[in-house]
Symmetry: C2
Subunit: 203 residues, 2 copies
DNA sequence: AAGTTTATTAAACATTTGTTTAGTTTTAAA
DNA sequence: TTTAAAACTAAACAAATGTTTAATAAACTT
């Protein structure tokens, strides 16, 4: 198999689990079963690899709301439900990667990287913002604070994914409960956010 | 001044800004202007210092809702507003420390520490949970998903504090806007959450 | 004042870190 | 098949890491 790809995969897994500083290039090389020097050969530096890892994985995150939201056969409520569902799906599909992004974002590190990461996180929010704005203009929605409404939507999901231990404690579950893979929790979150957003947005 | 305290203060600032792995004991010693060996003398190890730092700062976070929520002269709506205000205040009072807690929580590190951190974060949510539960039983509130409602409240605030860059982009602000200290933003967030929670909870 | 604990220090220690070098093997083109 | 580029490797490098040691200074105790 392509060793370059193997390095990217191993690095993604290790960075996600242990953080950037918590992962050594030797850890990565060992996991990918390649020579350490190959990392510098392909990616110049550990930092270079890190950037490529984010680029590599970020492409999976695009869910392209645009088509859905421009579909005129759907009611605003139906569109809202889809937004909620897709946003949950995206975050739950890889909590580790989201942790990675947010961890680096909260550090005082290179603002160029922070800039790129925040762009990745934000790209899916732009069409949602436009959708709510349009809904208000149409009179479908109440005059809410658009930006903070989006923050609430994403923040609710994100906070539940903070950590397994945290989620278990909030929900009052036992140690055998895995919040990151539990289908019932995903459904429960969908119902909560649908209810919340309906009450918040609809007149 | 007490050198032990100086170390704790410097360590808190550096761990908050650069993360646990991103901070060396020499960085801390240098900032506190003490000899490196003093860290091990007082705290045995870097890890030991880290735990003491969290303990040291966590005590500031207790806002004691209990008194407020047991005050019968306040209406449920007034209590709700206070909860929102105090929760925002607490998070905004030290975003760096919250970042520190959450960063370590998302890592696969020692689950004993993760346990303690999640307890710190959760301690203020317990009385809120009881408050909503009581409100539902009284008929003041709708039958909402209590745990996820709390998640929404805290998650909304937390997400806005993810990073300065992120907050600026979400809100469409320029580089000179500091979301962490901006009083207007705090007020705006208060208004948003009041509106949101009223629509969500009240019949 | 003598003795004893506590506070503080400079230096050394053993690992681990990311990176480079200089060489070998493999692949592919001419 | 010769040649050149690409892929890969073992070893070494310099710097940074957390921790310990052995010694000294300061602060109490008796």
């Amino acid at each position: 198999m392509d060793k370059k790809e193997l390095i990217l995969q191993s690095a993604l897994a290790l960075f996600s689990a242990n953080g950037y500083k918590g992962t050594s290039v030797r850890d990565i090389a060992s996991a990918a079963e390649v020579n350490v020097a190959l990392i510098n050969y392909y990616f110049n530096s550990k930092e270079g690899l890190f950037e490529k890892v984010i680029e590599y994985r970020a492409s999976f995150l695009k869910t392209l709301f645009d088509d859905l939201l421009n579909n005129t056969s759907l009611s605003p409520i139906e569109k809202l439900d889809i937004i909620i569902e897709k946003t949950i799906e995206r975050k739950f599909s890889d909590p580790g990667f989201h942790h990675l992004l947010h961890r680096e974002l909260t550090l005082g590190r290179s603002s160029e990287l922070a800039d790129r990461i925040s762009d990745i996180l934000l790209q899916n929010l732009v069409p949602v913002k436009a959708f709510i704005k349009k809904g208000i203009a149409n009179g479908d929605f109440k005059e809410v604070d658009i930006e903070l409404t989006i923050t609430t939507l994403v923040g609710s999901i994100h906070y539940l994914l903070t950590s397994e231990i945290m989620a278990r404690k909030i929900l009052g579950k036992k140690a055998d409960f895995n919040p990151f893979t539990n289908k019932k929790l995903i459904q429960r979150l969908n119902e909560h956010l649908r209810q919340l957003m309906r009450a918040h947005l609809l007149k």
